[in-house]
């Protein structure tokens, strides 16, 4: 699978350089290029050649700048089709050098075949199934890496995550996670129109206070795998949480649903989830604003009627946090005895 992928990508890169070289020649010497392919270099054909040059350069840049330029590869195929029509037309005109145009047409068929092959390669590898978390290292699909620092000790942060049933408390689109035993769990995520998508997952690696890895078991609609690492943040700032996950978006309706599940941009949803994770652990609950309680744009003013359904609160954390709160209040009292401008005691707040 990995070979197949580098295959398509290597070809895409080569075609990218080819596009740029061709485009530059077409822009710089459109008349000579026209003569070369057997077309009479009049004003109109010169303009057309220049326009094609611009298109070639754009396609080349696209192919070279994207890690997996599937769209650009298919874009090249569309460009080939256009060129085939133009050169085919040229064959019918007495003004043109017909043998040369015929040679050009044959050459174009060859390039088109190469472009189609490349685009298909890129497209196919995108749909490769996800098998194991280790395989995921070389896997196609979408990879998301995000991290956040939580001002709590690693054992607490790890324990909260390791209890997978906690995950829906901060993962916005997750409805429930049920631990089914033997390292396995059943995941259920919200989908549009009241439907949901479900899959089974298993923990593949579990190192207390350091790492949890998981993957979906075979047959999942949305194959996914991930690992979360817990590192001690320097300077006593708590715990760094590094999430690295991959998922394989299927095509069609389910694909759209999955896109929603993971956010419009890969990673955006995970980013929001991690910030909510931080809030749950540090504060005890997810904070709402007037604009954040509904999805989509709404004025920042109080909602109509009843307050929206909120997540369950983390009672234990809330209780613990009220101790923090008391400390914060006394913090302000203490500040009154230290006028601004004078150095404040650095160990102002007791660390928990």
């Amino acid at each position: 699978m990995a070979a197949q992928r580098s295959d398509g990508e290597r070809l895409a890169k080569a075609l990218g350089w080819f596009s740029i070289g061709l485009g530059v020649a077409q822009l710089a010497a459109p008349r000579r290029m026209n003569r070369l392919i057997g077309v009479d270099p009049d004003g109109k054909s010169t303009a057309t050649m220049r326009a094609i040059g611009v298109r070639e350069i754009a396609a080349g840049v696209g192919l070279l700048s994207q890690p997996r330029p599937t769209q650009w590869a298919w874009g090249r195929v569309a460009g080939d089709a256009m060129d085939l029509v133009l050169v085919g037309d040229a064959l019918n005109s007495d003004d043109n050098d017909r043998p040369r145009a015929a040679t050009t047409l044959a050459l174009l068929f060859g390039i088109t075949a190469l472009d189609v092959y490349c685009a298909q390669r890129l497209t196919n590898t995108r749909r490769a199934p996800m098998t194991t978390a280790v395989d995921a290292e070389r896997q196609e699909g979408i990879r998301v890496r995000k991290s956040v620092t939580v001002n709590r000790p690693a054992d607490e942060v790890y324990a909260f995550w390791r209890n997978l049933e906690n995950l829906p408390r901060f993962m916005k689109n997750l409805e429930s996670v049920q631990v089914t035993g033997g390292g396995r769990s059943h995941w259920r995520a919200k989908a549009p129109a009241g439907t949901s998508v479900e899959w089974d997952a298993e923990i593949t690696d579990d190192r207390p206070n350091a790492l949890i890895a998981w993957r979906s078991v075979e047959g999942a609609e949305v194959p996914n795998a991930g690992v979360v690492r817990f590192l001690q943040a320097p300077g006593g700032r708590g715990t760094e949480i590094h999430v690295d996950l991959r998922y394989d978006p299927p095509a069609g309706k389910l694909g759209a649903l999955v896109a929603k599940l993971f956010g419009d941009e890969p990673g955006q949803q995970v980013d929001g989830d991690l910030r909510r994770f931080k809030q749950v652990l540090e504060v005890g609950e997810v904070l709402y604003s007037d604009a954040s309680i509904a999805s989509g744009l709404r004025p920042a003013h109080p909602p109509e009627g009843q307050a929206p359904q909120l997540y369950d609160r983390e009672e234990a954390i809330l209780a613990e946090r009220s101790a923090d709160t008391a400390a914060t209040t006394s913090n302000r009292d203490r500040a009154s005895s230290t006028p601004p401008g004078e150095p404040r005691p650095s160990s102002a707040m007791p660390r928990l």
Binding site: L287, A291, H301, R321, P340
Partner: protein, 393 residues
């Protein structure tokens, strides 16, 4: 309830909206008695801050009476009189523990908006666009106050609203601007902008030991107030300079050294005579830059080598023609930040109590909440000697 809502560029309306509710355990609901229009509200009014929506309730300077408490709020009770900081701070994150309350890591529920614009999420503020969390503001009859056990300051003595209202923003903001200057005996401090924050910065600079304070503005009435009420020793009206520049005028005042400390209390909508203004205003109108950094440019160019520039005026995004060479080669220190309001509230209440500073000096108008649109119009057009508008809910 009635609330002053942003309805588009230079359009605000007092409308009927639903009453706020407790959404989180640490919320309280405050029945507002006094609120104010801030200079930074004018950036929203003039349409320069992105991510506003029609119907957003404005206002981040307010005080009133607690009428409802979430069950995790233990330090406040119904009936308490509180001033609410414009910054929303959780009190437990690393930033809050370091008293950098305006860098709170947990108070912006829609962090991706500001993360895209400024690289990291901004702290939550009341009534100040989705960049700062999308919270309803306090130019209203009621407001929901999140993390109410951290920010709000209980007022227990017989202060009037006008005496303590500005602890919510502009008094700590002006004070922090001066504090960031690390003022030494003999210091000459220049303050760009003689609005309310500028006046508090000048008064604070004097309190902290500045020898001379020069106020820079284009309205004579504001400059007169700076001298009469905030202790400014010198003034520069940059529209009446007769061929010289603010930088040259400052050098003239300081024997060629330049001010030791410079405070930008202007922000993104600065004015200046001549080409610089036209350049920035045009780029701003075309959305090629968000801010007009005229005041901060002048402050850097004017500041003495080795001096400090303190930026407290609000900026939103990218600027052009920033004098980085002057800044670097002349060893100038820049200090800036949104105000860590809760850090300053109680000490400044002490200064008010001892008569060291009188916040009411900046008030020019007191209007009913229903007249908020009139207040914005007067403030933005500097009509009728407008300096600071207080609204009574």
């Amino acid at each position: 309830m009635r609330a002053n809502c942003w309805m588009g560029t230079q359009r605000v309306e007092v409308r009927d909206v639903p009453d706020p509710q407790i959404l989180n355990e640490r919320d309280c609901i405050v029945k507002i008695t006094s609120t104010a229009i801030c200079g930074s509200d004018l950036h929203l009014y003039n349409g320069f801050m992105p991510t506003m929506e029609k119907g957003d309730i404005l206002g981040h300077e307010f005080m009133g009476e607690v009428v409802e408490c979430g069950r995790a709020v233990k330090n406040l009770k119904v009936g308490d009189r509180v001033v609410v900081p414009f910054t929303i701070s959780c009190g437990v994150c690393n930033a809050c523990r370091a008293e950098a309350f305006s860098c709170c890591e947990n108070s912006n529920p829609i962090p991706q908006v500001s993360e895209a614009v400024v690289g990291h999420p901004l702290c939550g503020f009341f009534g100040y666009s989705r960049l700062t969390g999308g919270f309803a503001g306090g130019q209203a009859e009621y407001a929901r106050v999140p993390y109410a056990d951290v920010g709000p300051l209980k007022i227990e003595n017989g202060f009037t609203d006008e005496q303590v209202l500005f602890l919510s923003d502009i008094l700590p903001t002006g004070y922090m601007a001066a504090e960031m200057c690390d003022i030494q005996p003999g210091d000459f401090v220049a303050v760009w902008g003689a609005g309310p924050v500028g006046l508090f910065a000048m008064a604070s600079a004097k309190l902290l030991g500045a020898e001379r304070v020069v106020a820079i503005d284009r309205f004579d009435y504001r400059l007169q107030r700076a001298v009469a009420r905030a202790g400014a020793t010198d003034v520069i009206n940059y529209e009446q300079l007769d061929g010289t520049t603010v930088v040259d005028a400052l050098k003239e005042l300081t024997g060629g050294r330049g001010p030791d400390k410079c405070i930008d209390a202007v922000g993104m909508e600065a004015h200046a005579p001549g080409l610089a203004y036209a350049y920035d205003r045009t780029k701003q109108a075309l959305k090629l830059e968000i801010d007009r950094p005229i005041a901060v440019r002048e402050a850097i160019m004017a500041c003495r080598s080795g001096g400090t520039v303190s930026i407290i005026g609000v900026y939103g995004g990218m600027v052009d023609k920033f004098p980085l060479g002057s800044l670097m080669n002349r060893a100038i220190t820049i200090k800036t930040g949104q105000t860590h309001v809760p850090r300053y509230m109680k000490p400044l209440l002490g200064r008010i109590e001892r008569g060291e500073i009188d916040p009411t000096m900046v008030i020019s108008h007191i209007l009913p909440l229903a007249d908020a649109p009139k207040g914005y119009d007067m403030f933005v057009n500097k009509m009728d000697g407008c300096e600071k508008v207080v609204l009574k809910a």
